[in-house]
Subunit: 421 residues, 2 copies
């Protein structure tokens, strides 16, 4: 008994129906990105591990990255995220680029995680970033783009939202209640885990940093302060921007959002579904030092987000917004009546193609007509054309509408208008 070789756990195949979703998702994010003047770029899927070692955070680098030694003995990684590659590209080309740089990309990322619904070991992510400006309008634009994408996918504020915070704001409030400098970073790491553990465990984790009970109460209060953004000029500017672009119904301030990646320096934000059926569905923020960390001579601030395809697909399904897709782009199957008449069918297929019609010639001249028609129907091809001896003699063809099962004999040069209308 032969065994079929299987694909690796967490790695997906894309049959044509899956691919149609990918193309639809990509087309939508591309249109939104380009409508705001962003240009598309890409990078390698393999990078030196050093690129991530600096700033991506220990969990991502040590636990989740697919790393290996290549034949030259260099330790490399399948990219777990795009921002370090972007920062590298920016710093290698900083003298030739015109800033502000506004770039987007859509490609594969790799993380060794436990596969589950909405999470695989290989997935796609949309990354979109503005590099150069350090003013809040850039952050406002990036967040507005995320909302515009929601809207393009017909997702509403009662289904999805964006939680916003600013690491600098949170840091200053924590300092106000006496948290010393050296505990800010470990405390952020605990806050990042807040929604994964219950209240009691969360408090115990903080206590381990030798933070007093009184301070812990203050921290809880800070994290649940829904109006905290009013204390920060930076966040107020972003709010004002989002108000003017009309996207505030999607926005929620949440001081407990800090993001796990070490390179964020200011604004941080996460996509969530309103029903709380998923955890954070995507995330982003401001990273003002990453390009200089990977080698740029000048400080080039950046802000952007990354959104994965797998969770978004689940969100769309959950809220009944999964699109109805055209899996087959073929308009007509040109059938072959008999091997002797193969030539006539071949010629017609060439003619149809030249006039811009996506058309398929059945690839086996010996197949029975019935089998060919079944094939067209199963593949979702809307029309089939039949050319028998009678049709050849009268320069006509029989056009069969496979949905209605009606058929009509027409002159061969009248096919195109018929199938297009």
């Amino acid at each position: 008994m032969k065994t079929t070789i299987q694909n690796l756990k967490g790695f997906r195949d894309f049959l044509p129906a899956d691919m149609a979703f990918q193309n639809w998702f990509y087309q939508n994010l591309k249109e939104v990105s380009q409508s705001y003047g962003f240009q598309e770029y890409e990078g390698p899927t393999v990078e030196p591990l050093d690129l991530y070692a600096a700033k991506s955070g220990e969990e991502l680098v040590k636990k989740q990255a697919f790393t290996f030694e290549d034949k030259s003995g260099k330790t490399v990684a399948l990219r777990p995220e795009m921002t370090p590659t972007l920062a590298r590209m920016i710093s290698q080309n900083e003298n030739d680029l015109t800033f502000p740089v506004k770039w987007f990309t859509y490609g594969r990322r790799f993380r060794y995680e436990s596969p589950q619904k909405g999470r695989g070991r290989e997935f796609f992510q949309w990354d979109i970033d503005i590099l150069g400006p350090d003013n809040p309008e850039a952050d406002g634009e990036i967040i507005t783009i995320a909302v515009n994408f929601y809207q393009k996918l017909k997702l509403t504020p009662s289904e999805v939202k964006i939680k916003i915070n600013d690491r600098k704001y949170l840091e200053s409030r924590l300092k106000e209640v006496g948290i010393p400098n050296d505990k800010i970073s470990p405390l952020f790491k605990i806050i990042d885990k807040k929604d994964k553990v219950d209240e009691k465990i969360f408090k115990e984790m903080i206590k381990e940093l030798s933070i007093s009970d009184g301070q812990i109460d203050w921290i809880s209060e800070i994290l649940s302060d829904k109006k905290g953004y009013e204390r920060s000029d930076w966040l107020k500017s972003i709010y004002s921007y989002l108000d003017r672009t009309g996207v505030l119904p999607f926005i929620e301030f949440d001081a407990s959002i800090v993001r796990g990646l070490d390179y964020y320096t200011g604004t941080v934000f996460e996509g969530w579904d309103a029903g709380g059926n998923f955890r954070a569905i995507w995330g982003g923020g401001r990273y003002d030092n990453l390009t200089s960390d990977v080698g740029s001579k000048n400080k080039i601030p950046g802000v952007g987000f990354a959104m994965g395809d797998m969770v978004m697909e689940e969100v769309l399904k959950f809220y009944n917004k999964y699109p109805s897709l055209d899996v087959n782009k073929t308009k007509v199957l040109v059938t072959i009546f008999s091997p002797e008449l193969f030539d006539d069918s071949l010629k017609l297929s060439l003619k149809l193609r030249q006039s811009g019609v996506n058309c398929e010639l059945y690839p086996d001249p010996n197949a029975k007509l019935d089998k060919q028609l079944k094939y067209a129907d199963k593949k979702g091809i809307p029309f089939a054309v039949i050319i028998g001896p009678e049709e050849v003699a009268s320069d006509t063809v029989m056009v069969k509408n496979l949905k209605t099962q009606s058929q009509k004999k027409v002159f061969s040069n009248s096919i195109t208008p018929m199938i297009n209308g």
Copy 2:
């Protein structure tokens, strides 16, 4: 002194101009594939090494594949080619698929080779295949598609061609001159190297198989017989097909084409440039046993080819057919006259975008107008819009054509027709 982290040798970055070429190349192959009724699919970029071990040929698997152990201890490979993944997908889904299957894909492949012009360690390949039919018309269609792609790229028969052969034909002719069964496969491997070594070395390599001088002369004659295809019914059928699709000017019979991959069973073909400035630029063939080798219950014959982006890009450059590309899809930059008037610019940008215009709002309200106009010019954005106090007062805007440097004051609702032509 900081050092910039570099990308890995043989791994490319795609700045927006490079990405524009990628998108153009992909769009063209997609249109050709879909015009023939092929459906798009994709697979994982990481596969179990076993998948290739069977049939891809020792050189590809042992020398060129990026292989490593994942965290579970499984030996995996970055896919060096697509056909084994396709065969795996077909065999895993054979009961649900409607045959003939006509699929195409465009994605990354990985080979540890010495990087040089037209060759990298990570590259893209277009794969297009028909699975099911074992008749020569399927091969004819696949080869016609390759020529149609040449034509779409404006490449002519004096620049590019396709060399065709059939392994079965060559095998039968070799047997006619007394080459025994067990020497056919090693002899094929030597023939595959023919154009990489000179005549003398080639003959010595054959001699090592204990093939006599007389037989070697016969082999030379067989390999240089330009009319050999007339002795094969199979090849004659393909020629007849290619004649009827009008692509024969691109076709050349070459009995020395065998291809390096072990899984080919019949027709084999390679793209070449007519000037002989490159080696084989792409290749393909018929593989009738591969899906059953990876696990399908039924024998599912296949035929297809794989064409890489890097060599084709060099070929296009060499023959001056490299396209002129639109790197920036942005139509208008909406400048910001002063921070006080930011609101007016923001509003206009939202309005333009709603009416379907790709437009960019300069992302820093504090930048000097002059700097903003320079930015638009450098990025190749054709129009800039200026809204100063006068314009705000009169509900007008100043539209500047950055190519002609002319400018015109218009009512704000008249911008769209103006920039569209």
